[in-house]
Amino acid sequence: MKLEPTPSQTVGPFFHNALLDEDQSKLVASDHPSVTRIEGTMRDGAGEIVPDAMLEIWQANAAGRYAHPEDDREDLPLEDDFSGFGRCPTDAEGRYEFVTIKPGVVPGPEGRPQAPHILVSIFARGLLKQLVTRIYFPDEEAANAADPLLSSIEDPALRSTLVASATGDGSLRFDLHLQGEDQTAFFDV
């Protein structure tokens, strides 16, 4: 029996009480030895900030293992207190921030390794379906160059939207542009 999927509808502007009643933006404690802060601002096609969106992230742990039954590589460690999932609203200035760690390398198509990356889903008023993108890391040049998904993007400007930039204070900046010349690369997953 094949069933057709239930269509997606927008999250709308009024989801905060249901989806964000607890702060889920810190995947590790702020004093974790390898803490990585990832922050950014979301903008629309007119360059205006998007203050009413929600981001979700999904990532492997530092060893490159996902806390999920389908990742059964038991030779890699799992940590009880690292779920790999985070959620964060954009604030009145269109900003978000996650406190996490850099994930390890995970396997990709045909056994080729994927560069460390974090999956991002974006939900907002005006998005009839979530947008999906990936955050790659600026200190992984060689791995990024060999990454099967990154290297499938021919336009270098579009490809570069997926690599976060290092700020002076050790954080990473990953701004999101939903539309326009600087548009972030989004995926059909």
Partner: protein, 240 residues
Amino acid sequence: MVQQQKGEIGGYRRDTESHPPYLYPDYKSTRLRAPEKPLVISPHTLSEVTGPVYGHGLIGELDNDLTRQHEGEPLGERIIVTGRVLDGDGRPVRNSLIEVWQANAAGRYVHQGDRHPAPLDPNFTGAGRCLTDDEGRYRFVTVKPGAYPWKNHDNAWRPAHIHFSLFGPAFATRLVTQMYFPSDPLFDHDPIFQSVRDPKARQRLVSSFDLETTEPGWALGYRFDIVLRGRDATPMENHR
């Protein structure tokens, strides 16, 4: 079953025309938020076929009863909303988080951004959650939400709806949608509902009145089954 090579992973079926497009100009907010550059096709790797196992520690006893979260009972028509969450092959999606939110019976959300001059109800927040059981079933008790005006176009009103957020087993199965009520006269005038272009797909957003779910002398019952994407093929044992 699709034969896979070593290193390939059993992905999920590609999205069909069921889903709305990103750009649907009648829904004005899509105009500046829909991406214009073509989407990059992402293969389904371990990153997409795994996904958050989330919410299991969060659920409180009354989280699926939106009428018992305050001292008194909310005003409005008490209803039961129940159904099953299935995958594209009709198998139950078990032990998976569902989050819901809605306006109160007067069509007002508890949210600082909601400027509709309709009364708030001190006994209604309008947020709930639960986990599906072994058959993929869920059940909420709530009040029927009211329709409400919005600024999309002149005299624009949203049909009554309940927002649903579901995870399913993988990142690729994540779904946020809205459940509507049967025969709503606002359907033809609502660009969010109409953004789903296939009429048959649109009907899958509409719950059905269900006498079996209805409890005598207490509450009307509505049934809403939700289908998440199905698996392309069964993953083979040695898939990495």
